[in-house]
Subunit: 201 residues, 4 copies
């Protein structure tokens, strides 16, 4: 398995998962003109979930590409951890739908915990995949210096911590947790806040 082929397949899965998110925004059924406008506004939990999940998958895809530029050779462990990552990525539309349908009900807390928990699991698997690359020197191109590998490791370790924080916040205030997730996704998407890139990048 070449890295090119693994990347192309992973790209496909990322692109499809990110596009399927829109299917979770359900068309509202209302009775008159005024209420459609209100119903569209009331769908804000769907929009919030759509935007957060979209940005999160987008960031994961961008980092995935950056990581794979450092990889020379694909072995079974990378295939396995990359497979688990794709499993988590394709799952994301489901917790997004659960969140969208429950954020304004009495079940908001459970939905938000489930949503943040899914991102926590995704971030943990992401770190697993990175470690399967970084800890096995033979996968990393010798021209990549150890400083960069350690810098990326530190950066990626922040992911699980951030999502653990939003998960804990969900127990106290679901809407605040969602706002934190949105802020987190926006922060990582904004230029300059992406992780330190290779010098020859």
């Amino acid at each position: 398995m070449t890295t090119g082929r693994l990347e192309a397949f992973s790209d496909g899965v990322f692109a499809i998962a990110i596009t399927l998110l829109v299917l979770e925004i359900k068309v509202p059924h209302t009775a008159d003109d005024a209420s459609l406008a209100r119903a569209l506004v009331n769908l804000w939990p769907s929009y919030a979930g759509f935007v957060i999940s979209f940005l999160t998958i987008l960031i994961m895809w961008m980092n995935h590409h950056r990581i794979f530029r450092l990889v020379r050779r694909v072995d079974d462990w990378l295939l396995l951890t990359n497979g688990l990552l794709l499993l988590c990525v394709t799952f994301i539309p489901f917790p997004t739908a659960v969140l969208a349908e429950n954020l304004e009900t009495s079940q908001a807390k459970t939905a938000t915990i489930f949503y943040s928990g899914s991102f926590l699991a995704l971030a943990l698997v992401y770190n697993m995949m990175w470690q399967s690359i970084a800890m096995r020197g033979r996968l990393v191109d010798m021209q990549v210096d150890g400083h960069l590998v350690r810098a990326i490791s530190r950066q990626f370790a922040l992911g699980p911590l951030s999502y653990l924080a939003t998960l804990l916040l969900a127990f106290i205030n679901p809407v605040a947790s969602i706002c934190a997730s949105l802020a987190l996704a926006a922060f990582y998407t904004l230029p300059g806040s992406l992780f330190h890139r290779p010098r020859n990048g």
Copy 2:
């Protein structure tokens, strides 16, 4: 991030979003043979929305490709604005579904405003992306002359104006607004009406 990789991912998202549009055409449930034929005809708002959204995304994809032929290097701003563009593109199936279900109801005006407004947002983000390329000379290949860049800028500026017109028309007559959107999409799709291409194109 190479332009090739960013283009491939964007192509994937365009291709999936354009294909998901069909899921918004709901199979009618009717009682007898005659009524199925009538029900299929009565789905014309779904067909209209499908065709307009399809052509619009198709035109955006074609122009996306033409733009990226001028780009030498991808920086964080282009990644960000391209990401926002994909966010808007993947959203399009939702306003299309809202339009399809409401164009023949008392809620037609709201639905059409929402539909045209989504295209207006898409066109504005498209211009943002182009400006993030054009205004930062280092992204544009030096062999591309300034005349071409300015010609494209003028062309793209027409997009938001056109969609603003259909949006305003929606307040007066929703069906007229949809016809205008269809005419607009057809006009841009027809050969020769695409924007001025590079000489070596």
Copy 3:
């Protein structure tokens, strides 16, 4: 626009449309074990529609690839006719769903006419696309001899005639029309029955 890029985008749309077909097979809701088995058997119109549409799109994709090997340069007309072809391809899941839900009802005739009519439209657009290539010598590689171009033209002209036949048959006997469509798809899929390929193929 290079042929490579247009082909890659078209391939993506073909691959997605062919995979979305399965969403039209609805999980039956039944009361006991025996009835689930019967319900799964009773879904045969869904399976038939799935297989016919799958094979038809698969054949179109294979021929699309064969055609594009003859194409040197993409112009606006090819972009336009290829775009119309993709529009028809992405539409196919809808008539497939209409057929699946109505083949065993009193509405079978209308559904089958709509289904066959969609394939007829698809075949006509396919011929339009081929003609936009074949009639404009500058698109066809000079190493391709005129005999091959005329042979393909004759082969493709059979498509609309075949689907016109199944459409007319639908007026008399819907199930016979579907069987004919299935036989047609199987015939074109079987090795040796594909159109005469270039000598250097």
Copy 4:
């Protein structure tokens, strides 16, 4: 048709089918906070089906790639058997949904038989495709030694036998059959348990 093109199209179909699986997990509709948590737990048949089908398609994709590295030339038989394989792969989301909705009902046995039977069919078609390559020496690169071809043939022959076993187990105990399918998928996914790879791999 080049192998590269056939592989790219097949990869697309694999990637889309694997991502569509999530659409079969239905958002539960519940009344209060406690019950959403319970409802999410009660969805375990959906999760099990999602994971098993995901891993199975993933393994098929990885083996598909390994096989195609041995292939020099695509002929009509390979096109046909590969097409049948894709037909079966795109069908998988349907039996997965049938399983998910019925594993905890009185219809569990029928659903599990249908699910395992689909995988059995998939494995048989997979072997057909491999045989269409292996039995026709002209498709296999001369540098690939006969030992490898026979080793792969033996490995792949285990697939139908395994799925036949889970199918028979489904008649006795549906949940045990699903656990066996999950164990099987996990076993094949784990490093080292994949089939013997080419030396120059």
